[in-house]
Amino acid sequence: MDNKVKFNTKNLDLFYGDFQALKSINMEICENEVTAFIGPSGCGKSTFLRCLNRMNDLIDCVDIKGEIIFDGKDINGDIDVINLRTRVGMVFQKPNPFPMSIYDNIAYGPKCQGLKDKAKLDTIVKDSLERAALWDEVKDRLNKSALGLSGGQQQRLCIARTIAMNPEVILMDEPTSALDPIATLKIEDLMQSLKKLYTIIIVTHSMQQAGRISDKTAFFLMGEVIEFNETPKIFTNPDDKRTEDYITGRFG
């Protein structure tokens, strides 16, 4: 059974000045699945991820061609970026909680959207932390600084912060690369439980991680998508020789 298509990119090219970082990407990403992007460093997988909620806007001299259709609309066209980002949340490589209390970190997004009702905020904070499996660990110190949490807790806080916006899609840019194995495992478990509610797209350096958690996997190389398919197929019987070489560790 195929899920509904959430993102559909058509001939997406991206240039950093003269350098072409993405070459004609065509991809359909489906709802309520975990899609993983793998590939060697500098292959464009993070760049592509950042296209999906237009975080590349922050970088000067980026030029994007082609279409990214999100729920029927091209997000590079005339859309409200702020609205897009509330619907497509993002978790970064390094945990980046703001230097404020745990509570304020979660409440930040809703507050920015104009939510002031204290009771509603309380509910959102509790729900988000619960869904991010962090509530039990932090419920007694919601007003303490978020910088006092461990790395793994900080990253789950960042996930909770994203969930608080009630997004449709969560983008994760190597969310576990700065964490130890136990914290990584917790985040991976979390992703499995979150995928029922959200569409998750994850960039990862670890092929094992992609194999463990994702439904579909895309292999990037030199700005191109070499292969995009069901994860088991990619890892057991890839169509392309280069994918096989990468998976088996012959380069990368």
Partner: protein
């Protein structure tokens, strides 16, 4: 071997140079403290620079008829800095105070005068009022000049006592509140700091926000940066000339607190822009990304995340600015004047501490007073230095992670 000797000699020269730098500092600070410390006391801080003459209306009374011997021994010293007693103090019953004839001598004048050397507890002087009926604080060291129109000039202390005791009813005493202090300069300096910061701080901070958060490299940014550098390089006397031509003359603000503070505000701009920019740059990009990815607008990101993180840096900017205003003299000389008074309105002149230090040195040759002002300034500068160190340590928190 020769190389070693050479190295030792060069090393010696380096030590010598460092020694000279340190000695110069110690020498300057030492000079200022030794010269000025004699003047530093509460009167110096709390008095105005100029003498103030006024009439005090005192209800004559006979309450404490004689002065308690014990009190006489314990009474506080009067201002010995400039005054030498000429005759023994005499107690005047009708005003409940002791007066002394002294020789007053400072850099510009030398004269004989009668001062109040002690005021007893029940003295009617304590409930004295001025011609408007408002009460005035009469204290020791005030100079008595006349009573009910009878001048004291040339009299002996006993004669003055008799003269005062002979009057009846309400006494109209002409008094002089001695000056020589820097209260008005301190207050003018505070006004100047406050006003110039009110103008320069928002402009500087918002300008820095534009440069770090919005500006794309190009001609506009280059122009702004070049202008800020130029402003930092222009000597303060040129700012003074500009302030005089623009604020004082063209806008007709006169030589005033307003002209002075607006001129100083321009001087502060590059300082504030630069340190705010540095502070904004230390805020990690990850915070900006995190905030934007949550659907916050750029403005929300700036005001809720970036600015709060940059607060210690902005505090440094404020401290640097305060130091700059306190140190500023040439520009203020031309735009705010040298009148040692508390400016009553934005359009009245007033001299800050440094301008006053210049004025007393240049016009009166009173190096002692300049040094005493110098002590006050240096103490403030040291405090500001320490505070800004604390602030910049706070800012470095992000970088250590």
């Amino acid at each position: 071997m020769t190389q070693k000797i050479k190295d030792t000699i060069v090393k010696g020269v380096v030590y010598l140079a460092t020694g000279i730098t340190l000695c110069v500092l110690l020498f300057i600070i030492g000079f200022i403290f030794i010269k000025g410390i004699g003047l530093i006391n509460w009167n110096f801080i709390s008095r105005d620079y100029n003498d103030t003459t006024f009439y005090a209306f005192v209800q004559e009374s006979n309450s404490p008829t004689t002065l308690d011997e014990k009190v006489q021994e314990n009474k506080s010293d009067y201002d010995k800095k400039y005054e030498t007693p000429l005759e023994a103090p005499v107690y005047v019953e009708s005003i409940g105070a002791e007066i002394t004839k002294v020789l007053y001598k400072n850099y510009t004048t030398e004269k004989e005068q009668f001062i109040i050397s002690y005021i007893s507890k029940g003295s009617p002087l304590l409930s004295a009022v001025n011609s408007n009926g408002t009460s005035i604080d009469v204290s020791t060291d005030f100079v008595l000049e006349s009573v009910n129109g009878n001048e004291f000039t040339g009299m002996s202390t006993e004669e003055v006592k008799t003269l005062i005791n002979d009057q009846s009813g309400e006494l109209k005493i002409k008094m002089v509140e001695p000056g020589g202090g820097i209260r008005s300069n301190i207050i003018t300096t505070l006004y100047m700091i406050l006003l110039s910061l009110v103008v320069a701080l928002p402009i500087g901070i918002f300008g820095a926000i534009y440069l770090t958060e919005y500006a794309k490299p190009g001609k506009i940014v280059n122009a702004i940066r070049f202008a800020a550098e130029c402003l930092a390089g222009i000597p303060s006397i040129i700012f003074g000339l500009f302030g005089m031509a623009f604020f004082v003359v063209a806008l007709n603000f006169q030589i005033s607190l307003l002209s002075g503070s607006l001129t100083v505000a321009i001087i502060l701009l590059p300082v504030i822009i630069r340190s705010t920019e540095e502070a904004l740059k230390t805020v990690p990009i990850a915070f900006r990304e995190g905030s934007l990815a949550l659907g916050a607008t750029k403005l929300q990101t700036i005001f809720k995340i970036i600015l709060p993180c940059a607060v210690p840096g902005i505090a440094t900017a404020v401290l640097l600015s305060i130091g700059r205003v306190i140190g500023e003299s040439a520009a203020l000389l031309l735009t705010a004047g040298t009148v040692a008074q508390i400016p009553g309105t934005l359009f009245s002149p007033g001299s800050t501490l440094t301008v006053q230090a210049y004025y007393v040195t240049k016009e009166e040759g009173n190096i002692e007073m300049a040094c005493a002002i110098g002590i006050v300034i240096i103490v403030i500068v040291i405090i500001l230095n320490i505070l800004s160190r604390i602030a910049s340590d706070k800012l470095n928190v992000f970088n250590k992670e």
